[in-house]
Amino acid sequence: MSQALFSLRGVVKRFDQREALNLERLDLEAGVITVVEGPNGAGKTTLLSILALITPPDQGRLFFDGQDLPNSGSQLTAWRRQITLVAQQAYLFDTSVEKNVAYGLRLRGLERAQREDRVGEALAQVGLAEFGPRRAKRLSGGEMQRVALARALVLRPRALLLDEPFANLDPASALVFERVLGELSGQGCTVVLVSHALEQAHRVAQRVVYLRGGRLAPDAGQGPSA
């Protein structure tokens, strides 16, 4: 078994006293596509938000690459820059598609020429090569999700977190996501994908984890359904 990129120990998250997540122990291996399944309200989105270092857990510890991460503080940005999240209905900034995709690269101080190259590459990867100058807010839902995917891919993150990537996607966009996931699995990128049980998710999964009521279901940690 390869080394874990994320390790959660006794992680608890509550909203208004109610427990949304309670994970005694969860390890997510590096370079593996893990699918987290579970019904609505199981805590899947909460889990991704904790892994993305956006929501601090109320209790427990989160290790990334063997490092015990603090709950908050300015060092967190450096860790966050190795991880990125594509939300279920991703928010696109009110500007052009290319500026959306370039945003994270600008934050990382990349030169303009380099940015343009990588943005072009990422847009081509999601089948939106010609969309650069278009206004992001005017796109269809599927196109928006693909832009959000490109905006994440362009960062070449060590960990890519996807929240329900196949929900409400048109078939063409769903195919793009599936293809990109296939490509990523060969590149050592760690992917955590959340979904309610869906065929497409199973096709790309190398490991499936079940979440119910904020806890790991007993059959968690098994290999892929194949």
């Binding site: 938000s49 993305a52 270092l53 956006i54 300015s74 940005t77 966050r80 820059r81 991880i83 990125t84 999240l85 939300a87 991703a90 928010y91 900034f93 009110d94 500007t95 500026k99 945003y103 994270g104 934050l107 990382r108 905006r151 994440a152 960062l155």
Partner: protein
């Protein structure tokens, strides 16, 4: 009808003839009010961002406080600032009473709650995914706050425009702390008040017309800024 028409033609006349006194008044009004808005915005925009974005105990109360401060009469602000800046007041040592700086101070106090309240409203009504999205793409908390401001840019610039409108049109505070001194602290509104008290209605109307032209120019400039800021 003559009253309005006369004012309008005289206003145009003032504009075209480059009447130096009137242009001096316009320039001072513009400088004082823009400085006041900038000064107020330096505090109000970050404060509005923080209040709008963070969840904390007493947030609603604070919003109510700022909304209430919108009703602050300008003469009351003038009175308070006068008290602070007057010779025996706590800030009397600065010696700025009856200078343009005193008017800047009073107008900044006046604009501050308005800009804060409008920025809070802009941020609260903005999609709450903006900040987290910026963070997941690698933004520092400051950069994420900037992203929020940028997404709310139309409303934020409208807040600044509203602040400018409030201060360039107010008369009570400017008279009290500026003193309406000719060639020194006489602004559009204090000049209009004076002309009206002298019975020079057409001159007052003309100045009012000129004020609107200046406000139009400022808003056009801010609109340009809006179009470019994306």
């Amino acid at each position: 009808m003559d009253f309005f028409l006369g004012g309008l033609t005289r206003g145009l006349g003032l504009l075209i003839n480059l009447d130096p006194e009137v242009y001096g008044i316009a320039w001072l009004s513009l400088r004082v009010s823009l400085s006041a808005v900038i000064l107020a915005a330096l505090a109000a925009v970050p404060l509005g961002l923080v209040i709008g974005q963070k969840e904390f105990l007493g947030k609603r109360f604070l919003v109510v406080v700022f909304n209430t401060l919108l009703a602050l009469p300008t003469v009351v602000v003038g009175l308070v600032v006068y008290g602070l800046l007057s010779y025996h007041g706590p800030l009397g040592g600065m010696g700025i009473l009856y200078t343009p700086w005193a008017m800047v101070a009073a107008q900044a106090v006046l604009a501050f709650p308005l800009i804060t309240a409008l920025v809070i409203a802009a941020v609260i009504t903005l999609d709450n995914r903006v900040g987290p999205t910026a963070l997941t793409l690698g933004a520092t908390p400051m950069q994420a706050a900037w992203a929020v401001l940028k997404e709310a840019r139309f409303a934020v610039l409208a807040a600044l425009a509203a602040g400018f409108g409030r201060v360039i049109t107010e008369v009570g505070a400017a008279i009290m702390v500026g003193g309406n001194i000719r060639h020194y602290t006489r602004t559009f509104t204090t000049a209009i008040a004076l002309e009206t008290s002298k019975g020079e209605f057409a001159q007052g109307m003309a100045l009012g017309f000129f004020l609107l032209v200046v406000a139009l120019a400022v808003n056009l400039a801010s609109h340009q800024l809006q179009a470019r800021w994306k």
